[in-house]
């Protein structure tokens, strides 16, 4: 009956979203008067889960699951849910979890709500608040099936510490063959990804050309941030597609979003509105971004960004 949470790891270490979904699962379990069971796949040290309210951990270690595969992972989580007689499964909004959740939903005959931003407002009927219309609105949704799957939005619930046992139990599910085979993976391991980043530094057409991104990368570097861009910038080939954020690009839910030379078109804002604090740097005081941001600097990015980098370096040196 426990709430089951899929806590994702990468190279054996938990992703930050894993701890956030564990915190969320604890809140749901409290509401329902039950405990939290986590399932981990090839995670090394699971003790950290005990800080976020996880009572029991089903530890799966299998070389067949070395690379993420949506079918196989969904199937393994399904077996865990059945073993635990789970009524609620919690997953994150990572690309991987969003890939596997609909497959898991059909497998468990479970209703699924994605992009959920708060703990359920009621356990019966099971009611959650999710974003819709690309962050332009929220939708209160009930999940009416016996088993329910909740996909939690990144950075919406936060980390809530809660001591618990995190008692490990080895779990050896069968791993079915998948019809999709990963041939190769190409990731820049030295770069912070938009999905994981606490801070995102993003630039638009105001930068004039790809040769001017040096200062954007430097600013990102100083802040330990990921770099992103507006849609025309990636359409023009100045930056890779993977950096395009907005309604038709990647969503951004970071703590801090810094927009440089981006006008703030509705389609851009839709994708970044879930970020907590927004800073705009633009030389046009009429740019719509000034209506959407928390902090703004009016002026030429080519002067402000290098100056800001210097100020931040000094700040880092003092606060190191």
């Amino acid at each position: 009956m426990s709430v089951l949470v899929y806590t994702e790891s990468e190279q054996g270490k938990f992703k930050k979203v894993a701890l956030e979904v564990a915190s969320y699962a604890k809140a749901v379990a409290d509401q329902m008067g039950t405990s939290v069971t986590a399932i981990t796949i090839n995670a090394d040290d699971i003790s950290e889960l005990g800080n976020y309210g996880v009572d029991k951990v089903l530890k799966v270690n299998s070389s067949d699951l070395e690379k993420f595969n949506a079918n196989s992972y969904a199937n393994v989580i399904k077996q865990a849910a059945e073993k635990e007689d789970t009524k609620v499964v919690i997953v994150s909004s990572s690309a991987d979890s969003k890939y596997l959740a609909p497959l898991l939903a059909v497998g468990l005959e479970a209703g699924y709500a994605s992009n959920v931003v708060e703990a359920p407002s009621s356990a019966s009927p099971f009611t959650v608040k999710r974003t819709a219309f690309t962050n332009k609105a929220f939708n209160m949704t009930t999940i009416d099936t016996d088993v329910k799957i909740v996909g939690v939005s990144k950075n919406a619930f936060g980390l809530k510490e809660h001591k618990a046992d995190a008692a490990a139990e080895d779990f050896s599910p069968s791993v079915p063959e998948s019809g999709v085979h990963v041939e190769s993976i190409d990731v820049a391991t030295d770069k912070v990804t938009i999905a994981d980043a606490e801070i995102v530094v993003s630039a638009g057409r105001g930068l004039k050309g790809p040769e001017n991104w040096g200062m954007i990368e430097e600013l990102a570097d100083v802040l330990g941030a990921a770099t992103a861009c507006s849609k025309p910038v990636s359409d023009l080939g100045w930056r890779p597609h993977g950096e395009h954020v907005g309604q038709t690009g990647k969503p951004v839910a970071s703590n801090l979003y810094i927009a440089i030379g981006i006008s703030g078109a509705i389609q851009h804002l839709a994708g970044i509105n879930a970020s907590k604090v927004k800073v705009v740097i633009n030389n046009d005081p009429e740019a719509p971004f000034f209506k959407a941001a928390d902090y703004g600097v009016i002026g030429d990015a080519f002067e402000i960004v290098p100056a800001l980098i210097e100020k931040l370096k000094t700040f880092k040196a003092q606060n190191a």
């Binding site: 497959l103 479970a110 190769s184 209506k291």
Partner: protein, 248 residues
């Protein structure tokens, strides 16, 4: 190869989002509807398979009569025929079930859907459809090559790309990259004329069940005032981000 492109009929990206009936219904007043952008990339890639590999391309939507202009646009872009399952789209599962029936009855090999719709943003329909019809599934798809039954696809993952091999039958969740923005087609006069003569098959729904229900909508709180910092006083910005916003 028989291709089915799943089209979701969504408010244009510039639409103001408002609700009526005590915040339970989306206010369509004055809203322009379009092909979901992710589906438009998929449709354009499907046209490539049609022109280069002789595939047939049908488009489908689960929706009321108001969605027909959107399907006509897809026909004008070059799809061969359109299917409309005459039912309001109520939740991801119900839509996926209706689509599964269309796929089975029509014997499609490749189903191209979008990574997510920009209205519901569920990212649910393609995966659920794949599971219901027991087809392979690749989402966040940014490249797709097909040779007989063999498929090579590329997927955007956090921080990079992944190349996968798989086979038909296949469902994909497409997005930008599948084709470039500059490859998207605007229907021309000839396409629009031809689209009028192409079949629009209206199917009665199988009344698939739902698993979730929308209770009501809310709009985000209006934004507070922006704090402007002088370009000569960036120390203040650093200070605000550190002490007030606590994000650095």
């Amino acid at each position: 190869m028989k291709i089915l492109v799943c089209i979701s009929h969504v408010p244009d990206t510039t639409s103001k989002i408002n609700f009526t009936d005590d915040n339970t219904k989306f206010d369509t007043n004055g809203v322009q509807f379009v092909i979901n952008p992710n589906d438009e990339f998929g449709l354009t890639r499907a046209m490539w398979f049609k022109e280069k590999q002789g595939a047939s391309v049908d488009v489908v939507t689960v929706g009321g009569p108001e969605t027909e202009p959107t399907l006509r646009k897809a026909l004008a872009i070059g799809a061969d025929s359109a299917i409309r399952v005459n039912s309001e789209a109520k939740d991801g599962y119900q839509v996926a079930k209706e689509l599964a029936k269309v796929v089975k009855d029509g014997g499609y090999d490749l189903i191209i859907a979008g990574r997510e719709s920009i209205d519901y943003n569920g990212g649910m329909v393609p995966g659920m459809l794949a599971a219901l019809i027991d087809a392979n599934f690749v989402t966040n798809c940014i490249n797709l090559e097909i040779d007989g039954d063999n498929v090579k696809a590329m997927r955007e993952i956090d921080g990079g790309k992944e190349t996968v091999s798989t086979s038909l039958p296949l469902v994909i969740g497409g997005q930008k990259g599948l084709v470039e923005e500059s490859d998207l087609r605007i229907p021309n006069m000839r396409g629009i004329m031809m689209a009028r003569k192409k079949p629009m098959n209206v199917l009665e729904p199988s009344n698939a069940e739902t698993e979730t229900a929308s209770v009501k909508f809310e709009k985000p709180e209006p934004k507070g005032q922006i704090t402007l910092v002088d370009a000569d006083n960036l120390d203040q910005l650093v200070d605000l981000l550190h002490n007030e916003a606590k994000v650095i």
